[in-house]
Assembly symmetry: D2
């Protein structure tokens, strides 16, 4: 226990911050040193600063912990997990990186920065190498490592084995997204009960720009974007956790649905080979039942760290279409960041 | 009143049947002569045979009406509206057509038959001409006229002005469909509360085969299918009434979003020119607010007879994408059939 | 039209304020003179200050109207409808009353004040007489008239004919309340999707203290509280509009369910006798079907101005129990206030 | 493992049957010998006969098991768990009892029979003694033991320590019940989305007659019914699992809320003393947060075997009111039956 690496959670009171705390409360490599919060909450005990919204032990057992201001001189740990909103993130995360921390961030602030890795361990573990460029560029001892937008994360997980096996020319993706993606209080019940909202601010843009970076190759000047077309059509639906995505994909060589299923089934990426603590045994669950995956029934499998694919079938336009499901606040947020840190640890980047 | 045309409703007890009755109870051209039902219900009064599930006057005022068997010798009217399931429809509808009735059918049984018009008055009023072929073919005095699948109907309404103005090469459509589309009792609450189900039996196939017929041209041998590619990805969501569709469309000449909006806005098809009683003044409502149309807030406008388009924007893959909404059990079922009958009346086909 | 009475709406941007505007836009007695708002919104046009959340014509046609500050010197009308929160209401409503306006208020600030009528025209029209006391007490030319809490309003409507016919000893009421009662954004979707929340702040207290005033008699010193026991147990459920209440009531003389139904059915209170414009023809709809009333199916009848009673049956403990339903933001808010103003007009209090 | 007691599950394909299978698949005392089904399913493999609707291993690992007819000569085990509907139960359960099995039944068929125990191990373990009377009465070697209606079970759990500590005079209970209580397909989504249904057939009657038996004392002639008044008002709400109950209770000696909380907190009934495998460590979780328990957030604690009480407060009419929550298909069905069997085992009744 004493040899665990101390970590700080920035933005610990929110929907994603609480998931960080719950996962880190029993993590084999990391232990929580600081829970940091905005000025309004710092000085309060964690249980006073927010209402716990998850199942399991309230506040992950950290209820009495006094929260500290989210600044490096009061909350420094060698590893920092950030659940901050984009505004505060753009100010505070560089301060922690400058102070020497590896900052694993959920925020969108630096995702598309040339020198910042946009990391999914199953998809692009070699992007870790971008840290060198980042440190040279800024003169930092630490670094910022981002995980992608939740919708893009889920999509990239399903596309990665297809990119590797066949090559992707184009992907059209329509999402049906859970309300938890908007944080708390987030989506008003008056807006979503019995409704579908065909708009989530900036979401389509994020997916369309992040996917080419996620599937790109590390070059000397940064990531060379993958050359595929991406179109996203994003919706909010009355679902609590989990994003459903309807995907049509144009692959090189026009593989059959069976070949696509086989490429997904046989995919064994690095986190599974390295046996990282938060990596699911099988990154993509392939469903053969005609009406699965279903978000309410499947999304919590493997603690939300795997994604689900079903209904792989011929698309009259693109060749292949399938149904995709993943957990937006676990794989697409807290769990994803922690898996990134585990990869960095396995690669010797945490000292 | 005495000069109104007497009509029969087949399958009057179901979700769509009740909407037929409600619309016909106060229709300026038609009056209900017979409410027909399966063996189990015939002989019962309408209010005994089913629970009324709509707003407004219970049973449309026809609660005490005794239901008759759905056979031509006991339920013949010159106009028949059929809300039958596909099985009974394939048996009974031809009997009524043979007996001389014009049968306006919601069932899928004959939609793709070469000699049967698949009719949306705004989209393909000239397909009415197919009746001649049908009568010659079968030696009938009557005829069967189908309205399309509800999801296809809504899509065709938005595509029609684009086909006419630009020409369509391909359309990708992901639907988020209401539970009412499955009838009553239909979708179990245990299957859909807090869930998205990425499968509706035969729905994708229907959309993909009906759209080319709907947009096709009447030729001497029947309908020449329109030459466009169609791919549909269909989902059930926890919404009561109304199908939301996310549409990407590849148009000839690569028009801008503004040009697409203008084509939709300026569209004035025949039912509006003829001022048919059930035709909405504006067939497509164009929304400019960034988060509309929304099914719960918009679907009941115009009694569900118009469709709604919003978020017309550039698609990185197909050129144009937009959000579409329509009422599945009104425009896509009962209201659509009645509008078909009104068109037939305006064209002098009802004697 | 020119002879209509000009009115001001305070708090016009909120959930209840919009319902005021929609009702007043076509009211036979009143016309909107001012839409007033907080500092943040005044000076903006109505459509800039809020998103319209109701069906029907957006902003009731008042979208371009410039909003004014909610103060008597800038927004005075002889009749003022207040949809303010309790804090601003306690400050601003007396200023308008002092300036000579009759203020019809939805806020809870003054409901229990000794000199303020808590008015439901069907239940206690004679409480209007309290205005004299109020004017003497404050030296005002105007007055404040409150409508009760929405849950209490619905309950009082059902209790009134029972109090009159039999006399009530005790009432136990468990509510299942719509999210609209909390305003917008109000209840977070993360809190209510698939959930029941057994707590609404201050709601039980309001019902328990308002019912005895509502059913009380006007005396020289104010209202003599009715001598009945009231216990309320309040819940939030995932419903948009309409409060369902499960009621057990102990009546004097132990009437049968048939006698209770008859008392409700034959009730013809003053607004119906006076034929007030917003009064429903029948104040209580009695349902005989075993599973009605149901909030989604029944609550919009009569524009939400009537209440619904069903399942009147024997209670092993109190003698009678029944199911009750009413519209919280119409009868329980905007519609209720306007009906109060109509009663005041009919009684000659509006000059 | 070989020493585990073989059991039969009757009605294994339904909502409750599947929960039996999931619990028994890893039970320390019992092992599944037969999965029995109606004629329609017998001969099929379990995975062919139904769709698995629960989380965790599909079919509890029994997917390939061939189902047998639910008759003693083909499906006899010394312990039988019955998830049958009332009709088949009334026919088949006595046959198994006659053949020598202890039948632990969820059906309502025999609950109120004079010689049949209506058993909740925490509430009335001594009612097991009724088996003697039953065996004498019928000349059976086996016996039928019922668990109560799910709503009554949850209520009885909260009432038991109050009856023991203070004595109960009257209880008024309004329920807000999950759709799973109606089985599958059960409640149609068209009936419950955005709705509250104030009626569940026979539910109020069951609660009102079962509670006095549950809290009664074992006498020589059977159970002497407890002398308390019970009134139930039952509703269906759009919730998946878990019944919320609003309870007002009149206790002897008028204890304070603190005393009531203490009686619940200090309650240590027999299953906890005996450490039965399915008994939760704490039978009643007392919530102190003002807005808990909440069904979606609390109902799955302890595998659904404990109940939750919150908001214990003064009731102006009955003295005490509180909010109550329990799992209808676990504690109120499958888990409850299995706990009954564990109690019977601990008492030496399973040989």
């Amino acid at each position: 226990m004493n040899s665990k690496i101390p970590v700080t959670v920035l933005g610990a009171t929110g929907v994603v911050g609480q998931r960080f705390v719950r996962r880190l409360a029993s993590h084999p490599l990391f232990k929580i040193q600081y829970l940091a919060a905005s000025e309004r909450s710092s000085g309060k005990r964690y249980f006073e600063a927010c209402a716990w919204r998850l199942e399991g032990e309230p506040y992950g057992g950290f209820g009495p912990r006094v929260m500290v201001p989210g600044e490096p001189d009061q909350a420094f740990s060698p590893v920092v997990f950030s659940a901050l909103d984009s505004g505060p993130a753009s100010e505070l995360e560089p301060q922690f990186a400058k102070a020497g921390a590896l900052v694993f961030s959920n925020a969108s602030a630096f995702r598309m920065a040339r020198e910042v890795p946009l990391l999914i361990p199953e998809v692009n573990p070699e992007h870790l190498g971008l840290i060198e460029l980042q440190r040279r560029h800024h003169g930092w001892k630490g670094a910022i490592l981002c995980n992608p937008n939740c919708t893009a994360t889920v999509l990239a997980m399903a596309l990665a084995p297809l990119e590797k096996t066949f090559g992707i020319e184009a992907v059209m993706m329509t999402s049906m997204q859970a309300v938890s993606g908007a944080g708390y209080p987030g989506v008003a019940s008056l807006d979503i009960l019995g409704n579908v909202v065909p708009f989530i601010r900036n979401e389509e843009e994020k997916v369309e720009e992040e996917i080419p970076k996620l599937l790109g190759l590390l070059g000397p000047e940064g990531i060379e974007l993958a050359k595929l077309g991406v179109s996203a059509l994003c919706h909010r639906v009355p679902v609590l956790e989990g994003h459903t995505e309807a995907v049509s994909v144009k692959l090189k060589g026009s593989p059959t649905p069976d070949q696509v299923r086989e490429a997904m089934r046989s995919w064994r990426p690095e986190p599974q080979a390295l046996n990282l603590p938060s990596a699911p045994a099988v990154p993509i669950h392939l469903h053969l039942t005609e009406d699965r995956p279903q978000v309410r029934r499947d999304v919590e499998v493997d603690g939300g760290m795997s994604v689900h694919v079903g209904r792989v079938r011929a698309c009259p336009l693109f060749g292949i279409k399938f149904s995709l499901l993943g957990h937006n606040t676990e794989r697409g947020a807290a769990g994803g960041s922690i898996l990134n840190a585990e990869l960095a640890h396995a690669k010797g980047l945490l000292g």
